[in-house]
């Protein structure tokens, strides 16, 4: 039986991102290959590659994941049927034009964040796979006043500094302004400088306005709050069928099983058909689903200021007279 889809990285240049992309594919049990135009195969010889003819002339349709103008929201793109190739692009340049031209559909992940409005390429691939391959029976998004229903977010015990940084980048991209981190593994606060630099780079801290608050040693849920623990290995309803938003809701995304949820917590399962994914992939999917349920659209150009009452007078002119427009070269030939 052929797989439902395959994931293709087009021109990915960072080996760590390539490995994370392969993890995202394993998370959804789809094959992963790379069109290598950046010397990636020299650093990762085991990497499965595909040439341009194999990519463009594949058996199924091409679906490009890129925030190009006019791209359709991945939340409304519908499900895939039969061997599609889902293509994500280079970290900075995106997908190359030949793939964009050949793609039957280009989808984007709506991100309302300011400062940071892109995801890590592997996170974007995981989010796209989640909505294109699965997530049937989703909850309806909220329409009015979505910001007042935005849940608080706790990243619980992340175990890797880069995964934590990339998750904070996703949080900013999906519109969170404050995130609490239970940093019991010491991956974000008070880390040695090399780790700190890598973590901040993954979080795009130079243009990320996110406020990161330490949870402290004894984090306890605020009184009257509703705790929703979102993870791939918990026993609960699927993520996209669980209410993730609402006033007083706290989303908790634990990394592994070292974090003990408080009594009374609800659980939402990040249902994926393959292996458990990296923390950044799980975080990206949870935050994308919460943002989808909030109903926040991508930031658009602000409406022009409303012009007040005005009166004007002009010289009213009727239809143009029955004349022909004569060009200067016609006159010279006359």
């Amino acid at each position: 039986m052929s797989p439902l889809a395959r994931l293709v990285g087009d021109g990915v240049e960072n080996p760590a991102n390539a490995e994370a992309l392969a993890d995202a594919a394993r998370m959804f049990a789809v094959p992963c290959s790379f069109r290598d135009s950046r010397g990636l195969a020299e650093q990762l010889p085991e990497l499965p590659t595909v040439d341009t003819a194999g990519l463009l002339g594949g058996p199924g349709p091409l679906i490009a994941v890129d925030n190009t103008p006019g791209a359709e929201s991945v939340y409304r793109a519908g499900y895939l049927h039969g061997g599609a190739s889902i293509v994500v692009g280079n970290e900075r340049r995106g997908i190359r034009p030949d793939v964009l031209r050949a793609a039957v559909k280009t989808v984007q992940i709506p991100m309302p964040g300011r400062g940071v409005n892109t995801l890590n390429v592997a996170t974007a691939a995981a989010v796209a796979l989640y909505y294109l391959l699965d997530a049937h029976g989703r909850r309806q998004p909220r329409a009015p006043r979505p910001e007042s229903h935005r849940p608080r977010l706790l990243l619980a015990a992340p175990r890797d500094h880069v995964e934590a940084g990339s998750s904070l980048r996703s949080a900013a991209a999906f519109g969170w302004r404050t995130v609490t981190v239970d940093d019991r593994e010491k991956v974000w606060f008070g880390t040695p400088r090399p780790f700190r630099n890598e973590a901040r780079a993954a979080a795009r801290s130079h243009r990320n306005p996110l406020r990161v608050v330490p949870a402290g040693d004894a984090w306890s849920s605020p009184a009257g709050s509703r705790i929703v623990v979102c993870a791939p290995d918990v026993d609960g309803r699927p993520l996209h069928r669980t209410e993730l938003t609402g006033i007083g809701t706290v989303l908790v995304i634990p990394d592994g099983d070292g974090w003990q949820p408080p009594p009374g917590a609800e659980f939402a399962r990040v249902a994926v058909p393959g292996e458990l994914g990296r923390y950044r992939l799980v975080t990206g999917i949870v935050l994308a689903e919460a943002a989808r349920q909030l109903g926040i659209r991508t930031a658009i150009a602000p409406r022009p200021p409303r012009r007040g009452l005005s009166y004007g007078s002009a010289l009213g002119q009727t239809s143009r007279l029955d004349t022909d427009l004569v060009q200067p070269w016609e006159l010279t030939q006359y």
Partner: protein
């Protein structure tokens, strides 16, 4: 070009005084707005900002025909209007174009301003648009007559 410059405007408003200028926030001489139908003369941005738009130097050789209302308006202002197959030709003898801008432009918009200001309305129209225009026209015409009578008495 702006047929009525700032000195002309100040002279006129000094003559009419606070009855015309009360609540007025400013008068701006601007270029023609882009994309509007017709040749703009003036506009009022409620509350109290009057815009006067530049006009081509006379005589005007227009490729379109003017409406009857506009033709009558130009005739009243002293313009010579001739419509032919090639277009419409409008000439402004003497200071008629300047006076046209001062009264059919500036004082007409001040007429709109006075109506809105007296009704204390900044966001809604004080009356139907047709009535608003008619009263603004009447105000501009009274102002023209008052100005003409003043200068006739001094000559």
């Amino acid at each position: 070009m702006h047929p009525a410059d700032s000195a002309d405007i100040v002279r006129l408003l000094t003559f009419f005084g606070p009855a015309a200028t009360y609540g007025l926030r400013g008068i701006e001489l601007r270029q023609q707005p882009a994309g509007d139908a017709g040749q703009a003369v003036g506009a009022l941005r409620v509350p109290g900002l009057v815009l006067l738009f530049e006009q081509p130097a006379p005589p005007w050789d227009l490729s379109d025909q003017l409406t009857e209302v506009t033709t009558a308006r130009l005739h009243r202002a002293g313009a010579w209007v001739a419509t032919g197959q090639a277009g419409t030709w409008v000439d402004w003898p003497g200071s008629t174009l300047r006076d046209f801008m001062l009264f059919d432009g500036l004082m007409h918009e001040i007429g709109h301003h006075i109506i809105q200001h007296a009704a204390r309305k900044q966001r809604t129209r004080a009356m139907r648009t047709a009535d608003h225009e008619r009263r603004a026209d009447a105000y501009a015409m009274r102002a023209r007559h008052a100005w003409a009578a003043h200068w006739a008495a001094h000559w």
